[in-house]
Amino acid sequence: MKAPVKRKPMKINNLLPAFITRHVLFALIIGGVAGIGFILFLTEFDHFTSSEEFCTTCHSMELAAEPYRNSPHYKPASGVRASCGDCHVSEGVFAATWDHFIGTKDLIRQLFGENYDDPVVNALHLPEAAFAAREWFKKRDSATCKRCHVKEAIFGERPDTQQIHLEDAKEKSCIECHYNLVHRHVPDKKTFKREAWNSMIEEEFGLEKGTAKKLLGK
């Protein structure tokens, strides 16, 4: 009969490299849990800060939300409502966080910039905001649209709608054709005419001619 092999006692330290001391291990566990917690926090944070409720805590955003609430993205036949962040914040926790980080410039402007809460100031600056947003969509190849919309699945009410999307719009990105869907109508940057826009806003708010220029010059 063979003598029993004497086993080494199971000691955790023996399984790990020597530099992972007990303290390091604790730090790793705490760090790991904190990390997971942070990611979860970011996810929740991004989720919350993407909501209409959060965005419209700034009054200026309430002005952007008004037309949105009358748009098919707010009142779709399907019941699938797109919130602010669904379109304006990228997918994925890191990209979303980055977008929010960049977005703080809007917050800074809201706090220290012009009075965007004033509907006139807001409307006068709207075109530049629209151009920037369109640029953002273009750069991302309309990625946020595609979260919900699949080109191949656009059947439409007329048979031609599907055909157009599969053939004519094959190489195109959503934003190239579809803009002015949700917010106030702003012409394309190429054909935008500042003076005409100013006159329209002045007329709309019953302001004296030249007020818009003064407001923008501030």
Binding site: D160, Q163, A169, E176, K190, M200, I201
Partner: protein
């Protein structure tokens, strides 16, 4: 007074130049496009077709059947815009304009544009812009103006600050439309887009889209004229698709509106100035014969024979208020000659001249019997402040308006286009409204004494209304002299009436 030698010589020159202008000025309908074919067939525009064959198959199909498509003129050749254009929009990567104005069409169709500019059609809005709201908005609201009046007269298209077209002013294909690019008119008023078929524009339907209804009843008139009768019967023989369409040569079955008002006939070329051959202004309280003044810059205006006759080289005000140098003046007689020359393709000179004489007589009758007295009475009522300056708030104003603007127009236009039933209907309506309503309403407004005095001065004392001064003169038309008046029994008279009713 005998005109001086110099005057008669210059008159001769004017007449000569106008004669040549009217007869040989411009080419036939399919005026040759002189623009280099390299100038159209936009590469970028070819890309529109695929998508639009699906998204708006109807209009693309119309275009595919057009002469434009055959000549490789595509969407962008007409719809292309510059970024700076007031109404430019971005569309699928291209900069375009929704509205294709006469200026756009005129890039190729120069001759037609030149003829159209300054024609009475282009003034359809500007002439009545100030007056239109009174009728449209008192009887309706601005809504009626947008959906009714302006659809024919034309809208002043408004591009909003956000680049969209104001829905009150667009869609609109009114012939006097004022376009965002400053040009006036709308080719698609007559030439249905996007096929732009010659045949379609030659049809009376192209005109009666607007020339119908209470104040421009030409559809009803043409339909009840010999010309309309012949057209109905021989529609198939009109050769409407022909490139060249000269009356008496390419077709002879019947004249359409186009034939007489702008078509080629014999040696006379077609012309897109549709009022050129009209010698009368028939849409006025009192019709006057009209000179056509042509300025050096090509613009035109009409002047009544009661205005001083402008001379060649003289500077007079143009329709837009600016001054212009007179290049030529066409007298009403010349304009009548031009119109009559169309008649001669089918009728003898005597026949045509007599028909014109009958027409002129009706116009003069309307002027003298109704237009002038009604106008004089209204002017006195206004100057005596019997009526408020506000139009249409007194019944007599509405009657007066209908008298010349509706019934009077019907009678005069019908006489011009030889519809006996509509000539009579028009004059009958004028007469019944004048005697049956207008005179009574004048008395109501001015009071019996003042009203009677006005009516005596302007009506009873005129030979045209002398019949009013003989109340004892009997006529059986209304039954006078029958029944009681003849001493017959009441029951017999009543029985007769009853029998008539049955």
């Amino acid at each position: 007074m005998k005109p001086s030698r110099q005057t008669s010589f210059s008159t001769l020159i004017i007449i000569g130049s106008l004669l040549s202008m009217l007869l040989f000025s411009t080419t036939v309908f399919a005026a040759k496009v002189t623009l280099d074919p390299e100038s159209w067939g936009s590469e970028e525009g070819k890309a529109c077709i695929d998508c639009h064959s699906k998204s708006s198959a109807g209009l693309t199909h119309q275009w595919k059947n057009s002469a434009h498509a055959q000549a490789n003129v595509n969407c962008l050749d007409c719809h292309q815009a510059y970024e700076d254009d007031v109404d430019a929009i971005e569309h699928e990567g291209s900069v375009i304009a929704t509205i294709v104005s006469p200026k756009d069409c005129g890039r190729c169709h120069e001759t037609e544009l030149k003829q159209q500019q300054g024609s009475v059609h282009t003034q359809a809005l500007s002439i009545i812009e100030n007056r239109m709201p009174a009728l449209a908005e008192h009887f309706g609201s601005p809504t009626i103006n947008d959906a009714g009046c302006a659809k024919c007269h034309g809208s002043k298209v408004l591009v909003r600050g956000d680049g969209t077209l104001d829905p009150a002013t667009w869609p609109n294909s009114g012939i006097g439309r004022i376009n965002p690019d400053g040009s006036v008119g709308s080719c698609s008023a007559c030439h249905g887009r996007h096929q732009f078929s010659k045949a379609q524009a030659r049809e009376p339907a192209a005109c009666v889209y607007c020339h119908s209804g209470p104040d421009s009843p030409d559809k009803e008139i043409y339909a009840t004229s010999k010309h309309g009768m012949m057209y109905e019967a021989h529609k198939g023989e009109m050769n409407m698709d022909s490139d060249q369409w000269v009356a008496g040569k390419d077709y002879s079955a019947a004249p359409t509106c186009v034939t007489c008002h702008m078509g080629a006939a014999g040696k006379m070329k077609s012309n897109h100035d549709v009022g050129m051959r009209d010698s009368w202004n028939l849409n006025a309280v009192v019709s006057e014969q009209q000179y056509l003044v042509i300025f050096e810059d090509g613009s035109k205006r009409e002047l009544s024979t009661s205005d001083p006759l402008p001379r060649k080289g003289e500077s007079i005000s143009k329709l837009d208020g600016s001054m212009g140098k007179v290049k030529a003046v066409a007298s009403p007689k010349r304009r009548r000659q031009a119109m009559t020359s169309v008649c001669l393709e089918c009728h003898s000179k005597g026949f045509a001249n007599n028909a014109m004489q009958q027409f002129d007589n009706v116009v003069e009758l309307f002027n003298e019997k109704y237009g002038k007295p009604a106008q004089a009475i209204m002017q006195e009522l206004y100057s005596e402040k019997v009526l408020t300056p506000l139009p249409f708030d007194e019944p007599v104003e509405i009657t007066y308006w209908k008298l010349w603007h509706n019934s009077g127009t019907l009678a005069r236009h019908a006489a011009a286009m030889t519809s006996p039933s509509m000539t009579w209907k028009g004059m009958n309506d004028v007469g019944s409204d004048f005697y049956g309503k207008f005179l009574g309403q004048v008395r109501d407004a001015a009071g019996k004494e003042r009203g009677d005095a006005l009516i005596k001065k302007h009506v009873n004392d005129s030979e045209h209304h002398d019949w009013l001064n003989h109340p004892g003169k009997a006529n059986p038309i209304l039954g006078f002299g029958k029944g009681k008046n003849e001493g017959e029994s009441e029951s017999e008279g009543a029985g007769e009436e009853k029998a008539n009713e049955d």
